[in-house]
Subunit: 155 residues, 2 copies
Amino acid sequence: MEDYCLDELDYAILKILQTDSRITYDDLGKKLHRSKTPIFERVKRLERLGYIDSYVTLINYTKLRECLMSYISVKLTDHSIEALQDFATNACALPEVMECAHLTGGTDFLLKVVTKNMEHYNEFLFRKLGKLPNIANLNSSIVIGQNKSSPVIPF
Amino acid sequence: MEDYCLDELDYAILKILQTDSRITYDDLGKKLHRSKTPIFERVKRLERLGYIDSYVTLINYTKLRECLMSYISVKLTDHSIEALQDFATNACALPEVMECAHLTGGTDFLLKVVTKNMEHYNEFLFRKLGKLPNIANLNSSIVIGQNKSSPVIPF
DNA sequence: CGTCAAAACCGAATTAAATTCTGAAACAAA
DNA sequence: TTTGTTTCAGAATTTAATTCGGTTTTGACG
């Protein structure tokens, strides 16, 4: 892997692409006072070097179908590296789990979970997540309203 | 706004677009055994009707620069609708806040926050978030490892 | 300073994709 | 069946992505 230190143009490109992955190279060039060629080459380099992970589409799920979102904090009984890793692997494999983070402090993991409704949520909690080994304690909080959810990282 | 009930083809399109917003209509059509014309028209309709929110780029922020992620649970002193709404508005306006959810249970809000490092985090906590009105209590958990973070919603 | 090599850039040329257009097939209501 | 509507495929066109050739900029080195 090359070593390459991003310059201001690279940062500017990433900043714009973060909120619009379908902008044309021409328009991107106009915003950044360059022709499309260098912009194109830089985007390809950012992809190649792994600064760009993926291009995704955000869909309006609440409009699409009923949707229940919740956060679940998880405590484990065993805190060995293997046990922690195992839990993470198992939890991440569940499609309802949109986020899984290993935390400092009282709880070991925080999960963000999406299901269709309370019935599916119960099903998920007791039949899937609850059946994973090594769980001491699960604590759910249901999302009443999602005020912000943005993949855009501040610069 | 038209009323329109999505069919299986629409769902299939959304499912694929969720993980790849730059696939060509031609390729999308091949996956779904259609020519690109109907696929194109359906995507435009999904955009028009608001099922598709946006096309975004996910960047590898940890590769880009140092990065500290944390979850902060917030309790307020005043639980009137206005106070709740005010807090949400103020918190969402902070660029460090990537997610802001209003929860059931003991805590009122859960925030996902990104800063460059502990110094910036303290700055954020005491100078920005902590200065918002009506906060009873803030409880931070630092993310040791992010095992999954996906905008892909299960179908 | 000049010289050289590498990298970045621009504009034109080409290739590929998006978008539009035309008409055929499927479907539903009368 | 007839009629109107929707969906679709394939061709035609427009627009964008990608490649190419050559110029400018930049930075190392004598």
